[in-house]
Subunit: 456 residues, 2 copies
C-alpha cells in the first residue's frame, strides 16, 4: 500500500506538499514483472470501434510481456449526458454542491460501462482481462465528493492480477470514501487515476492516450506553426496544464512529479498496426528537468479565455483595505490571480483590480456588494472580455530577458497589458480577448518555438 498525499493547489500558484513511501521500500516491485499503465480518454473510447482500436494498443503491451493496467474514461459524451440528468433532477437555482454524493453515484457509472466493454473486447480475442471499479481496488479518496483527492491505493490485488497475466481494466475518475460512498476526482480525473496507479504499482511508464499525439508549443488551432515537444519537464507541464493546455489534468502532473512517474502523451488515433510493426509512435515524454538534455528557454505559449477582471474603484488608501478584500474572497473559495493597484483620480484613494476565473465573477460581485460599506469603494466593474496569455519554460530560471521579449513583442503589436503575474518558470499577462490569437502567434514566433521544435 502506498499512501499518496497531494496538496490541493489553490489557483495557479501551485505548491506541492507531497510525502511518499519510496517505491524501492516495497521489495515486491523488484520481484515482479515490469508493469505499464495505459490511460484512454473519452474520445479514445467513444464507440465500440474506437474501443476495438484501444484493445490493439493494449494487446501490444500484453504481447510484449508487460503486466498491463488500463484506465478508461467514460465514452465521449456520456459524462455530459449524466451530468445533465443530475442537473435536471436537482432543478434550476439549486447548487449541485449539496448533493455531490449522488452526483458521484450517477456520473461514475460512465466509466463502469467502458471498463466492462473493453474487458469483453479483450476477452473475445482470447486475452484474460477484467474490469475494476474504484471501490473494488479499493482506490480510497477524501470525502470531497465531485473533486475528491486520492488517499491511498493498495498495490497488492491489482498488482497480483496483472503479474498473473490478467489485464486490469480500471474505471477511471472514481474511488471510494472512508464512508463507503462512490467519489469522483473531478474533470480529467482519469489522468490522475492512471498516474496514481502507476505510482502505486511501480509501473515502468504511464502512457496517456488521447486525441492528439503529444504536448504542443502552443494551441495548434491558433498557430499552424505549433510543434509537438519531444520532452517537457513536470514543472513546465504543470504550468501548461494550469494555464489552458487541456491535455492533462493538473493534479495528475503533480502526482507524476511527486512520484517520478515516467509519463508519455500519445494518440490513440494512430494506427496500432504500425506500432506493432515497430514504428516509433510520436509522443511527448514528461519527465524531470535533469532528464532533458537540451533545455530550451521557453517551451510553450498558452492561453486561457475563461478569465475575467474585476476592478474596485476609489478604494480609500488606508492599511488593511486590500487585505480585507482578498481575505474575504479567499474565504469564499474564490481564487484571485493577478492583482494591480493604481492611483485613483481622487486623492488618498486607489483603484484595485484583480483577475479571476470567469465562473466565479457572479459570486465575487455578490460578495463585494456586501462589503461596499466596509471597504468604502465607489464602484465595482467586471470585465469578462479578457484572456490570459503565458509563456512557460524552465530555462527562464537562468536566462534573463524573457520578460522583456514578451513585453516588447506585445508592444510592437499595440497589445495593451492589463495585468501581469509571474512564477519562476512562467510569465502571464492579461490582455483584451480580441488580441489573444495575435499575441499567441507573435510570442510563438518571438521565442523561436517553431524552429526549436523542428530541430529538437
Amino acid at each position: 500500500m502506498i499512501l499518496i498525499y497531494t496538496a490541493y493547489s489553490r489557483g495557479y500558484s501551485l505548491s506541492y506538499i507531497v510525502k511518499e513511501m519510496p517505491m524501492s521500500s516495497s521489495p515486491q516491485h523488484k520481484m515482479t514483472n515490469s508493469r505499464v499503465v495505459l490511460k484512454f480518454g473519452g474520445t479514445s473510447v467513444a464507440d465500440l470501434d474506437r474501443i476495438a482500436n484501444v484493445a490493439e494498443f493494449v494487446k501490444l503491451e500484453a504481447d510484449a510481456g508487460y503486466g498491463v493496467v488500463v484506465v478508461v474514461s467514460a465514452m465521449a459524451g456520456e459524462t455530459n449526458r449524466l451530468v445533465d440528468l443530475v442537473h435536471r433532477a436537482i432543478g434550476t437555482g439549486i447548487s449541485v454542491d449539496s448533493n455531490l454524493r449522488e452526483y458521484d453515484a450517477v456520473v461514475s457509472s460512465g466509466e463502469q460501462v467502458t471498463s466492462g466493454l473493453l474487458a469483453l473486447t479483450l476477452q473475445r480475442q482470447g486475452y484474460r482481462a477484467r474490469s475494476w471499479q474504484g471501490w473494488q481496488i479499493p482506490l480510497k479518496t477524501s470525502d470531497g465528493h465531485g473533486r475528491a483527492r486520492i488517499a491511498s491505493i493498495p498495490d497488492d490485488v491489482v498488482g497480483a492480477a496483472v503479474d498473473s497475466g490478467e489485464i486490469a481494466i480500471v474505471a477511471g475518475f472514481q474511488g471510494i470514501t472512508e464512508e463507503g460512498r462512490i467519489s469522483t476526482l473531478g474533470r480529467g480525473g482519469s489522468d490522475t487515476t492512471a498516474v496514481a496507479l502507476a505510482a502505486a504499482l511501480g509501473a515502468e511508464r504511464c502512457d496517456i492516450y488521447t486525441d492528439i499525439d503529444g504536448v504542443y508549443t502552443t494551441d495548434p488551432r491558433i498557430s499552424s506553426n505549433a510543434r509537438r515537444l519531444e520532452r517537457i519537464s513536470y514543472e513546465e507541464m504543470l504550468e501548461m496544464a494550469s494555464l489552458g493546455a487541456k491535455v492533462l489534468q493538473t493534479r495528475s502532473v503533480e502526482l507524476a512529479m511527486a512520484h517520478n512517474v515516467n509519463l508519455r502523451v500519445l494518440s490513440s488515433f494512430a494506427d496500432p498496426k504500425e506500432a506493432r510493426n515497430g514504428a516509433l509512435q510520436p509522443c511527448t515524454v514528461i519527465c524531470s528537468e535533469d532528464e532533458i538534455v537540451e533545455q530550451h528557454i521557453v517551451s510553450g505559449v498558452t492561453h486561457s479565455d475563461s478569465e475575467a477582471k474585476i476592478s474596485l474603484m476609489t478604494v480609500p488608501d488606508e492599511p488593511g483595505r486590500a487585505a480585507r478584500i482578498f481575505t474575504e474572497l479567499a474565504a469564499a473559495d474564490i481564487n484571485v490571480d493577478m492583482i494591480v493597484q493604481s492611483a485613483a483620480k481622487t486623492a488618498k484613494a486607489a483603484n484595485i483590480s484583480f483577475s479571476l476565473d470567469e465562473a466565479d465573477v457572479a459570486r465575487a460581485q455578490e460578495l463585494l456588494a456586501t462589503l461596499k460599506q466596509d471597504i468604502g469603494y465607489t464602484d465595482v466593474v467586471a470585465d469578462r472580455n479578457v484572456s490570459k496569455v503565458s509563456v512557460i519554460g524552465v530555462g527562464m530560471k537562468s536566462h534573463a530577458g524573457v520578460a522583456a521579449t514578451m513585453f516588447q513583442t506585445l508592444a510592437e503589436r499595440s497589445i495593451n497589458i492589463l495585468n501581469i503575474s509571474t512564477s519562476e518558470i512562467r510569465i502571464s499577462v492579461l490582455i483584451h480577448s480580441e488580441y489573444t490569437e495575435l499575441a499567441v502567434r507573435a510570442l510563438h514566433q518571438a521565442y523561436g518555438l517553431q524552429e526549436m521544435a523542428e530541430t529538437s
Copy 2:
C-alpha cells in the same frame, strides 16, 4: 442478517426449498418503526418527469411515518441499450455466457443512475435520501453471474438508515458475489431485490409499482373482459408469473411466499395527489391462500407464445430410450415441459414429442442430432408455431370438473390440444398459435372470470 435460500426452479415444475430465520427471532424488528419497501420498474422511472412522480409516492409513505426503502430499476430502454453494447462488444457467434462478469458490470450501471437521480429528486424537496448500490448494502449473491441468486442481506445498515428517517434508494437487480464482483439477478430481478429487502427488514408490506394497476384474470390486450383481481394467492401468482403474466419475476413471488411478505401490485401511473387525499389506489394483493376469504375455483387464464414443440419420430419402443433423451436434455440445461408418447406407424416404435422454450430449440436440435444413432429415431421435427394456454386456481384442489370444462370449451371451438400438463392448481395445454386469442377469450368466459371479478 437474514439468510435467504431459494431453490432454483427448473422449468415450470416449481419446487421451493426455503429455509428462513423467522422474522420474530430478531428483536430489533419489534423495536423499530414500521418499514415499507416500494419498487418502481423501468417504465415508472423512464425519465425525470416519471421519477418526479415516483418521488410523490415515496413522500406519501415517508410523511406517514414509515421507514421507506425504495428499489428502482434502470430507466426504460437503458438495460436494453447496455445489453446491446455488450453483445456488440462480444461480437457475433460468441455466447455472452463466458463473459457474464463483465456483462453484469456494464448492465448494473443502469440502476445505479436511477438510484442517484431519485435520491437527488427527493433531496431537492427537502427529504433525506441516499442511494445504495448492491455492493454497499451489501446484498450478497451466488456467483451465477447474469442470473445470480440472493444469498444474504444484512438488515442493520439500511435498516438503521431508514429508521433514522433517511429514505433508502436501492439500485435493484444487482448484488455482489463472494469474490467481490458485481452480479445481476436476471430480467425482472428488481422485484426480487424488493421482496428480499422486505423480508430482511421485516417490512410491513412490499409494494410493486408498475405500469398496470394489478394482476388481471387474463391479458387485457387479448380479452377486454379481463378484470383486475383484488387478491391472489402466492401459489396462483407463481403459476401466473411462470406462465406468461409478466407483472412479477417468478423468483420474487417464491421469496414472498417463503417469507410471507405482504405483496401488492399497483400502478405508478396513478395520480399521487389522489392517493394523498386518501383515495384508495386500485391494486392486487398477493397473500397466502388462507387470507383469501372468497376463494374462486379459477383465478386466471394465461398464455405464453415463446413455446415450441419437438417431435422425435419412430423411436424404438425399448426401455431406457425415452429416459436417455430427457436425461441428456436436462444435462444440457434444457427445460422440457409437456411430454407425449404416441404409437408410431411402425410396429414396436413410438413417436415422442415434448414442448420447450422457443429459445432452446436450436440447442436441443443440435443435441438430438448427436444422439440419433444411440436413440435410433428416424426423424426430428420442430414446431415453433405453438402456444401454451393455462388456467390457474387454488380452487382446483377441491373442485372437480375444471379440466373437463377446459377440454370441452376448446373442443367446441375445434381447437386441437397437442399436449397437456397439470399441477395441483393449474392445467396447461399446448395448441397451435393461431388459436391462442380465441382459446384465452373462450376460457375466460367459460370459467366466469368476468363476473367474478366484477363482484369480488
